[in-house]
């Protein structure tokens, strides 16, 4: 690791094979929202083993995600998936659910645990509790500001992983409302959620994956990298689960270059980098909750990121 870890998420073997991962250090395999997501690594255990081998052959750290909101009937498959992950050399498992955390801790203690954003770590006290269950890294709840995140790092020595760029998870459901459209659109599950789908109310926008809801805007921390690094953060996610291989590759290239520059004391990203991020952001850019404001706001020196980009409603409706 060159002073930091840049990672991303990939749901299935097809996307893994199609993605150029040169600028990533690590990858989380699997879709956390839905068991029947197309060829989900978490259900296709042969694919999962192959994916883990591919990543290892690339020299990448290979992590495996787990479901954000399981029910009892998920758990036998989760155990098999964890067994396959451990035997195929996964270097960590990301856990969003406290029951799965307990299963990993009790039954697969060889697997280090990264706690994901749906596990609701709001405080250092919460992180410390989960450390007792084997957690070694934490993504704090997305609602926390950087100041609040720093309160955690001030009292907990476990490293945090932060969303650096991409669509921020906003919610997860037991149900997929896209199934309502199978007949109307003539598109069956699991192809439905492969479409690019946004929900909009005026300028508000969210991306839907059926069971998962994401921010419509892409969280963008490009111009805030010096602060993140100065505050000691070194583990960063580009959330690209529902994005194209081009998005995954080009956004990573921007951030790897910018992180290297920021570590060398250079603070300004070049205009080409901004152009790349603007081109891939379907709705616009935001900062999530990092500055204590509404998640869709943008704070920084790039005014064009704050709502001035054409939104779908303005451009197409």
């Amino acid at each position: 690791m060159n002073g930091f870890e840049l990672n991303t998420s990939i749901a299935n073997l097809r996307d893994l094979r199609a993605s150029n991962l040169t600028d990533y250090d690590a990858v989380y395999l699997g879709d956390i929202y839905c068991r029947i997501y197309e060829s989900n690594f978490l259900e296709q255990l042969g694919d999962l083993r192959e994916g883990l081998h591919i990543l290892r052959d690339m020299g990448k750290k290979a992590y495996v995600a787990t479901y954000a909101a399981p029910r009892n009937d998920f758990l036998p498959k989760v155990r098999k998936m964890l067994e396959a992950s451990a035997s195929a050399g996964a270097e960590a498992v990301e856990v969003h659910n406290l029951g799965i955390l307990r299963i990993v801790h009790e039954e697969f203690p060889q697997l280090p645990v990264h706690v994901g954003g749906f596990a609701n770590i709001y405080t250092a006290a919460g992180a410390e509790v989960l450390r007792g269950f084997g957690a070694v890294r934490f993504t704090p709840n997305y609602e926390l500001s950087l100041d609040e995140i720093n309160e955690i790092t001030a009292t907990s020595s476990a490293p945090l992983e932060l969303l650096l760029h991409g669509k921020m998870p906003l919610g997860v459901s037991d149900y997929c409302f896209l199934l309502d459209y199978e007949e109307k659109w003539g598109v069956k599950c699991p192809d439905l959620c492969q479409k690019e789908l946004f929900l909009k109310q005026g300028d508000w926008a969210m991306k839907t994956l059926g069971k998962g809801i994401l921010s419509g805007k892409d969280v963008c921390m490009l111009e805030h990298l010096p602060r993140l690094l100065a505050e000691g953060h070194r583990h960063f996610r580009i959330e690209a689960l529902s994005e194209s291989p081009e998005y995954r590759r080009e956004v990573a290239a921007v951030y790897r270059g910018a992180l290297a520059k920021a570590l060398a004391g250079e603070h300004d990203a070049d205009e080409g980098s901004w152009e790349t991020l603007r081109r891939h952001a379907r709705i616009g850019l935001c900062n999530g909750f990092y500055f204590g404001r509404s998640g869709m706001d943008y704070q920084g020196l790039r005014p064009e990121a704050l709502g001035s980009l054409p939104t779908i409603s303005r451009a197409e409706s």
């Binding site: 509790v129 989960l130 609602e143 919610g171 997860v172 909750f289 197409e316």
Partner: protein, 295 residues
């Protein structure tokens, strides 16, 4: 087989009295400033004292929701309230965060701590986790079936509650920060953010407003996120058979006049199961007026 406890909401002193009058075995209330959902449904300290007096004198129990997630500097103020609760005779406290649960467990051995529905427990493994953490009880949503509950009840050493009457919104409780993504409500008094976080944690129900659905840049529909009122009164017996300890009703927003008949209906269903000849089978449905608006 034990008869489940009927746990009713009390969003005001009047509602507490109504719940008791209608046959609740226990009532839960929010302590002003420290409960999810906001001030309108909380009791001030004097009201809490009065409620506890009335509940205790009728031989039933009061449970107090302290289910915000306070910041570090606020936690000490929260902990300062606990000895006074214990002095009043209140041992049952509902919390919403694993850190707070563990900290309270460590500091106040006499407390019986419940992991609230906002903690997101849905599985047998989740319940085992909260048991291991030292929770006295855990609340599961009414979406969990009696069959699932039977498996969950194989976990011993923890009381299991189910929210048999609740609104099921599209996004799971404790896993939604859509409202604060759209608009973060500022308040000097209370936590900003989602309902999970508590306090001002405003849910202004953006999921229940019409959204335009765009596919590949083209508007294809206008729709709401699906949500529904869950009233599992017909399953009271099945949950009892599965070994559920507490049947909980959502609705600290319900006025006393609406709450009382709702509680009475569940009371009758529970007693109808234990004394079937007296009441016959419980009704399968409830009037629409008993839909809980908000939490």
């Amino acid at each position: 087989m034990a008869v489940p406890v009927l746990l009713a909401p009390g969003g005001s002193l009047e509602a507490v009295r109504a719940a008791l009058g209608a046959g609740a075995d226990a009532v839960y209330v929010g302590l002003e400033g420290w409960s999810r959902g906001g001030a309108r449904r909380e009791l001030g300290w004097d009201e809490l004292v009065a409620a506890q007096r009335e509940v205790a004198s009728s031989g039933r129990s009061l449970r107090v929701a302290l289910n915000t997630i306070p910041r570090p500097e606020e936690r000490a103020r929260l902990f300062e309230r606990v000895p006074a609760l214990l002095d009043l005779g209140i041992r049952d406290v509902i919390v919403n965060d694993v850190g707070i649960l563990a900290a309270l467990r460590q500091r106040f051995e006499r407390l019986r701590l419940t992991a609230s529905i906002g903690c997101g427990a849905q599985t047998v493994a989740d319940v085992a986790f909260f048991r291991d953490l030292g929770a006295y009880a855990v609340v599961l949503p009414g979406t969990v079936s009696p069959a699932e509950m039977r498996e969950i009840r194989t976990v011993r050493g923890i009381s299991v509650e189910i929210m048999v009457h609740m609104v099921e919104e599209f996004v799971l409780l404790g896993k939604c920060w859509m409202p604060s993504y759209v608009h973060l409500k500022e308040s000097p008094m209370r936590q900003n953010g989602s309902v999970k976080r508590g306090g001002v944690g405003a849910c202004f129900r953006i999921c229940q407003q019409p959204w335009e659905l765009f596919a590949a840049g083209r508007r294809v529909d206008t729709r709401l996120f699906p949500s529904r009122q869950i009233s599992r009164i017909a399953d009271v017996g099945a949950y009892a058979d599965a070994g559920v300890d507490v049947l909980k009703l959502q609705g600290r927003s319900l006025p006393a006049g609406v709450l009382a008949p709702l509680v009475r209906r569940y009371r009758d269903a529970i007693d109808g199961r234990t004394i079937p000849d007296a009441f016959g089978p419980p009704p399968a449905t409830l009037p629409a007026a008993w839909a809980v608006v908000g939490r």
